[in-house]
Structure formats: C-alpha cells, structure tokens
C-alpha cells in the first residue's frame, strides 16, 4: 500500500467492481438475517400446528403416575445403596459437574434413567 495508489480507480479493478460487490455483500447480510427473522416469526405458529393442545393436558395424568412409580423405585435404589455400599462413592456416570456423590444423587440419576422409557415395549 502506498498513498500514490490512492484514488477512485481502485474501486473498479478489472473483474472486480467494489461498489457493486459491497451492495451485494450488504444484501446478503440483510438477506440472511431477514430469513432468520422470518423463520423466527413463523416457527411458533408452526409449532402450534404440529403439537395439538389437547394432547398436553391428556398426557399429564399418566406421566405423573408413571413418574411417581419411578420416584419410588429411585428412592428404593438409593436406600439400598446407602445400606449396602458403605463406601458411598461409587460413580456410575459422568454426567454431573462437580464432585458430589450421595445416594440421593444416584437416586436422581436412576430417576432420569427410568424416564428414558427403556426401549419401548419389552419391559412393559
């Protein structure tokens, strides 16, 4: 770069029109963000279409009772461990951050485990 090269001729080099390019670039930036804005506007409507409301109210009760059973199982597991694994610091997963290991934490995980629904059908 040197100032001797300063001038408008720099903006229109062979095969490269800087002004036209800048307009197009600005257009792409606007275009991209505009499409995102449109998508964001439409998404909630789309989501409302795909998930009919009544389902959610219907699902509450069975899931709750399901959850209750699982919580009971989890508590049972936790107590069992507390009684039979006096060490108490077995790690069975690496999902938690930090280093707390109590039977209750294990219980929480058990609960999470159950909610995986365990492969759909054999377990009935």
């Amino acid at each position: 770069m040197s100032f001797t090269q300063m001038g408008l001729q720099n903006l229109n080099q062979p095969g490269f029109d800087a002004v036209q390019f800048s307009l197009m670039g600005m257009g792409l930036v606007f275009g991209g963000l505009l499409i995102i804005a449109l998508y964001i506007t439409l998404l909630p409507k789309l989501l409302r279409l795909t998930s009919p409301k009544p389902v959610s109210t219907k699902a509450v009760t069975p899931q709750n009772s399901d959850q209750e059973v699982e919580i009971l199982l989890a508590i049972a597991t936790a107590l069992h461990m507390h009684n039979n694994f006096p060490d108490g610091d077995e790690r069975i997963t690496w999902k938690s951050h930090g280093d707390m290991d109590s039977p209750w934490l294990v219980s929480g995980r058990m609960n999470g485990l159950n909610s995986r629904k365990l492969a759909n059908s054999w377990s009935r």
Partner: protein
C-alpha cells in the same frame, strides 16, 4: 463478481440430496439425545458436527475437516493422530470407581467374554473382503467403546474412521434399544431374579495399588494397550491417591469436557456425504450391529456357563454389561432386573463387568494393533 458468482459461491448451489440425508441424520442424533437422553454428551456434538460437515464448502477455501489449513482440520488432528481418545480415558479413569470390581473379581471375566464380539466381527469383516487392518478396526466396534474404536481406527484404517466412529457411538447410544431383547431371549425369569450379595468393603490401599498393578499386567501382556490403559489407570491413580485430588478433578471435568466437545464435533464433521455414504459404510454399520449382538450374547452365555460351576450364582443379566458402553449397559441391566423384581438392585454389581469390559476392549485393541499394525 455478479449475482451468479455469488450464487455459485454459496452453499445452496452445491447442496446435493445426499448432504440433505446426512443433515437429517445429524438432526435425528440431536433429537434422540434431547428427547430420549441417549448418550447426549456424544450425540449432540456429533449430530451438530454432521450438520456442519455437510454444508458444501467453497472450492479452494479452507473450510472442511479435510481441507489443509482449515480450523476444523486442526481440531480433527486430535482425532487423526489418536490424541483425544487417551485424554478421554484419562478423564474416565479419574471418575471410575473400581471398588465393585475389586470386591467381586469373578465378575471381571464377564467383561472378557463380551469381547468375543470383537474377534468374530473381525473374522466376518475379513470374510467380506476388508483388509486385515480394516477388519481389525471394524471388529473393535464390538468393544462398545467409542474412544477405543477411534484410537484403533486412526492407527489401523484411518480411511474408515468416520463410519467406524459413528457406528460405535450410535450403537452405544442405542444400547437401551439393542440389549433388552437379547437379554430376555437368553435368560429365564428365574435367572433374571437372582439377587447378588452386597460386596465387601474395599480398603484405600487396595484401591491405590490396583491401577499400578493392573496397568503392569495389561501393558506387559499387550504393550499395544499401553497408550489407552496407561492413561486410564493414570487417571484412576490421580483419583485414588487422595493427594492429587485437584488434578483428578480437572481431568474428569474441564479436560474431558474440552476433549469431548472437540472430538465429537470433528468426528461428526468428517462425515461428508460424498465420501461417507458408501456401500462400505453401510456394511460397517451392519457388522457393528452384529458385533453388539454377539458381544451381549457372549457375556450372558458366559455368565450362565460360570453358574454351572459356582455355588453362589451370578445373575446372567450382568453378562450383558460386559460389553462396556459405560454406564448405559449397566443401567439397562439394572432396569431389567428392577422390572422383574422391584427389590433386585443390580446397578453396582453391573459396574464390575462394565469397567472390566473397557479394560478388555483396550487389551483387544492392543492385540489387534500390534499384530496388524506391523503386518
């Protein structure tokens, strides 16, 4: 520099329908992770990586993991050079408690039995026409251990690394789907109800000495397992020595997290449809599935075999946990046991064959590597 050249430089112009298929696969991975909680720490990074990897890059620009000098290629180096898997093993070692295994050494053998999947798949792959190196790398999918599979592939058959890694992680995530039917098929209700005696307490000393001796045993038998198991047992020593708690803590938190992010993402991004969607890949997926089935079966049947000789019977469900896939296969065992008899708690017992399976797979990888790598 007109509109056309802009369009030609865009991703839209080069997007093929096979890229769209792969992007859909990536979305499904993320969906499974979010809604089913299947191995989310792996499926989310891999899934997003698959999406990124299937955006058509611009010719001549360093964008993809395969383009020299691209940022993604630098991240992918840790996969190609086999650096990430041992670091993940370091973190796993620093979070693994070997107590149950130490208190019930019989269960270790279940972790050995499940490795039969590795060698049968190796033979199957050879039969189908893969080279011995490729066959070894495919076989290790049956080890059900992502880092081990990636490590061995990078050493023996880097050209298959993508499909092997994706197959290994997919099936690990699908353990709760794949294993239960096999477990029901090969066990009776009575067997599934067998209770295990609570394990004895393990002394601090035993826990500190264990990683050192276990490393020496494994590394002297199969030096090829030195890299993975050296790091695994090093991490475990950091944890058990009690005097290096802060190092163990970093190894099992920041360090393993950083490596998991980079490994998952870049493995995912290496699955460009144009090179990934081949007959070979599909074959690898089929072989991988077979490998998982064989390994699970092997573990269960070996437990039943041991029961012929043992007074205190082993619950044969524990055999299924021998495939590794820590800790998911142990969880599946626990849940099946619990459904059968709500007072049958197998989780801790299943951790023994589960971690033994990790060691077993690493030994198998070492054996395959040393025999085939210097072939």
């Amino acid at each position: 520099m007109d509109l056309l050249s802009f369009y030609n430089n865009s991703g839209l112009a080069h997007l093929e329908w096979i890229n769209l298929i792969m992007i859909a696969v990536g979305v499904i991975f993320i969906y499974l992770a979010v809604t089913k909680d299947y191995e989310p720490l792996l499926l989310v990074p891999i899934g997003f990586g698959v999406i990124v990897g299937n955006i058509p890059p611009i010719e001549g620009m360093p964008l993809s993991v395969y383009a020299e000098g691209s940022v993604f290629s630098y991240i992918y180096l840790g996969v190609m050079k086999g650096i990430y898997p041992p670091l993940i093993f370091l973190g796993i070692g620093a979070m693994t408690d070997f107590s149950t295994m130490l208190s019930n050494p019989k269960l270790i053998l279940l972790g050995a039995a499940a490795q039969v999947g590795v060698f049968l798949t190796f033979i199957g792959s050879l039969f189908l026409g893969f080279t011995p190196q490729q066959a070894g790398a495919i076989g290790i999918i049956g080890g059900a251990d992502g880092p081990t599979a990636i490590f061995l592939s990078s050493m023996l058959a880097p050209e298959l690394l993508g499909p092997i890694a994706i197959a290994a992680y997919s099936y690990m995530a699908l353990v709760p789907v794949i294993q239960p039917p096999i477990m029901y098929l090969f066990t009776t209700k009575k067997e599934r109800c067998i209770h295990m005696a609570p394990p004895r307490q393990v002394s601090k000393k035993e826990k500190i000495i264990f990683p050192i001796v276990a490393f020496l045993i494994c590394a002297l038998i199969a030096p090829g397992s030195m890299t993975l198991l050296g790091m695994l047992f090093f991490g475990n020593l950091l944890k058990e020595s009690m005097v290096t708690e802060r190092l163990a803590n970093t190894a099992r938190n920041s360090l393993i997290d950083i490596v998991t992010i980079l490994l998952g993402f870049s493995v995912g991004a290496s699955t460009q449809a144009q090179t990934f969607l081949t007959g070979q890949s599909i074959l690898i997926f089929v072989l991988g599935a077979a490998s998982f089935v064989v390994a699970t079966t092997g573990g269960i049947l070996f437990a039943k075999l041991m029961n012929l000789f043992l007074k205190e019977k082993i619950n044969p469900l524990l055999g299924a946990a021998g495939v590794s896939a820590v800790p998911d296969s142990a969880r599946v065992v626990h849940m099946i046991g619990l459904k059968e008899d709500p007072s049958n708690f197998l989780l801790m017992h299943a951790m023994a064959p589960n971690v033994a399976g990790v060691i077993g797979s690493a030994i198998a990888a070492g054996v395959l590597w040393s025999a085939l790598g210097t072939f």
